[in-house]
């Protein structure tokens, strides 16, 4: 179905994981120009392309589920947009899907609540893995210093962690994202490590899914 607003899901691969969120905006704007896709511009003195990105993905993370809303100047078929953009996007940036949106629609921020991550852990013993898992499930609360716009404060992040599993040197975790709050997986992991008295680091973090 042709549409003039779409929500794109795109992949950020390993080779572009250090590109910052702001630079991603430019990457998409330029890919759109190269693909000659007719997008809508904002009115005003300095017209900008109408692109709305989801929450910034921290530098160093890879993802299969980044979101972007684009408003076009005319209707397009989703498959056409996927092909056009994938022919011009550089490196390991790939549009995986495009879903038409019909007004009124929920913003990206309002339509997601959880993000699912997988991460590799730098050297950890099976015993330590067990103690991390049991530390997480046995604790009632997980008080952690969390940074926000208003500064650092101590909060219980346990309710923001939907699932937590350490197995075979990897971490599988689902944490809150969107309007209900945001939790970074490495913060959750280090809080559990502290609780369990285990010392371990995450080597690479990948975001699998958002819902």
């Amino acid at each position: 179905m042709a549409a003039d607003i779409m929500r794109l899901t795109y992949k950020r691969g390993d080779s572009v994981k250090f590109v910052s969120h702001l630079d991603f905006v430019k990457v998409f704007e330029r890919a759109i120009r190269r693909a000659r896709i007719e997008v809508a511009f904002s009115c005003g003195f300095n017209p900008r392309m109408q692109l709305v990105f989801g929450n910034p993905l921290p530098v160093g993370l890879t993802s299969d589920c980044e979101l972007l809303d684009i408003t076009f100047a005319r209707p397009y078929e989703p498959s056409e947009i996927i092909d056009l953009l994938n022919s011009t996007l550089p490196g390991e940036i790939t549009v995986l899907s495009a879903k038409p949106l019909i007004k009124p629609y929920d913003s990206i921020l309002c339509s997601v609540s959880f993000a699912e991550y997988t991460a590799r852990i730098g050297s950890i013993s099976p015993e330590d893995e067990d103690s991390l898992n049991s530390a997480f499930y046995s604790c009632k609360e997980l008080m952690t210093m969390k940074r926000s716009k208003s500064g650092e404060k101590l909060v219980d992040i346990k309710p923001m962690i939907k699932s937590f599993l350490v197995k075979d040197g990897a971490l599988y975790i689902t944490v809150a994202t969107g309007m209900g709050g945001n939790l970074r997986p490495e913060l959750a992991f280090s809080a559990v490590c502290e609780k369990a008295g285990v010392s371990a680091d995450l080597i690479s973090i990948h975001k699998n899914n958002m819902y």
Binding site: V16, F18, A31
Partner: protein
Amino acid sequence: MSYIPDSILMKVEKPSRYTGGELNSVVKDKSKVDVRFAFCFADSYEIGMSHLGMKLLYGLLNERDWIWCERVFAPWPDLEKIMREKGYRLFAHESQEEIKDFDFIGFTLQYELSYTNVINMIDLAGLPVYAKDRTDGMPFVIGGGPACVNAEPIADFFDLFNVGDGEDMLPEILDCYRKWKKEGLPRIEFLKRAAKIEGVYVPSFYDVKYESDGSFAGIFVKDEFKGIAPEKVLRRVVPDFENTYLMKSQVVPYLEAIHDRIMLEIFRGCVRGCRFCQAGYIYRPARERSPGKLIDAAVALSECTGYEEISLLSLATDDYSGLKELTDGLIDYTEKRNMNISLPSLRIDSFSLDLMEKISKVRKSGLTFALEAGTQRLRDVINKGITEEDLIRSSKLAFSSGHSSVKLYFMLGLPTETDEDLLAIPALARKVRDVYYECHRGEKVKSPSITVSVSTFVPKAHTPFQWFPQISYEEIKRRQRLIKDALGPKFGFSWHDPELSVVENYLARGDRRASELIYNVWKRTGGFDSWSEFFSYDVWKEEKERIGVIGFEGSLTPDPDAPLPWSIIDIGVTEAFMKRELEKALRAETTPDCRTKCAGCGVARYKGGVCVGC
């Protein structure tokens, strides 16, 4: 895979500066090329990626299947520290491999304050910084770019220089190298052959002599290289600029560069002959490209980059004779696509309302009027052909077409300058402000933003002012204060750090003894002297005092017969012309631009550009 592991990249600022893989970057199979060329810019990625010359030669070299040219930048000090601790070496972006095994390490030399970074990069590559210590099997270190017209301060660090336009010369040098490499001859044989290519300077083939008082006496071909190395190296010029390589692609960085846009070099050289301006002499003759070619290139670049802005590059945009045709053609293309055009280097004497209207269709940007000096007398001394009436007329046009932000650019410390000349600067700013309120008489308008920007004059090699001294540090400070106090709080005021200008002066007219200064400072500071947060004036000053004379310093009563360290380079402009210009400057007499009347500077020998038919 990036050369620097993720665990380190996670700890440094802006890691995407180091990982390569940018759109339009060129990756080749290293086993299928004869020459690997590491094109280095001795500054951060964001600065280096803004530089047109690098993009141009990158494209031109990589068009040849036997060359792989890659980009190299100075890692920011946070990464460099870790690299040195853990034994990592300087690497190229495309292959993510160390450059110590490349055939060439090339530096584009843009400004003197990058010299400490140059040797820092050679060192970080894992090579000896002095050319004499590099042996068979190591890359040749070659320099190019404008600073080569006085290469003496860095001559000891380089194997050879490419003086002048590189489009023809650099491929010739690499071709010569390719043949030499196949023959398996000693290192010096390549340099001997390269020295015969027009524009190539091999500093180790020359001896420098000094007088007993320490002043520079002359530079001569060593006996064993007589007949091989030229007595003077004539700057190379591409005379047929119209048909010289024009970029059709450029690398688009992920991380925003300082100048992150399409760059069109509309012409090279300048017809004006402002006497302080080195670029005005060392790129002569002025050579244009036709609007048709430029528009085609702009479209091609726009389609392969997706950039939203096109910038016209030259030394003085509105001296370009096809400006109307070019801008009409570009606007046709850009307007439909919500793209911008930026026109830097606009002089105000030919500033037309028409052109301003055209660019303001898309976006109104701030305007800079470069007057350089406050009084007509001093503007005549420096041969800046602008009058106060020009400024007033242009300001009127600018303000009545909706502009309210203007920057007035001046220099201080110019030869013959007096306090009267300096105090004329705030007076001009006030006049411009008055024009603004006159243009909007009876209207309710916001106050204009008028900024006076003052840099410090640094006498440069190969200009008529090369024989003058720079004013002292204390005097720079005094003159800055004088302007600032007279300007008052209603105007913006910006100025250059006097410390940077003083050090720039040490190096700009240095001879080979300046290399010791650069080396010693680098040993103590580690480089990045073009960044105020890393620049240490005290270190430069101390080392300079310790070493003593390191070059030509000039005098208030110029001696045009004094031997000059950079005389080894013949930029194509005759000595007689430079002396004439000096005398005319002292009489506050102007020289017309090259189009109005040929001043006989000597570059007609190149048979190109504006000189053809004169």
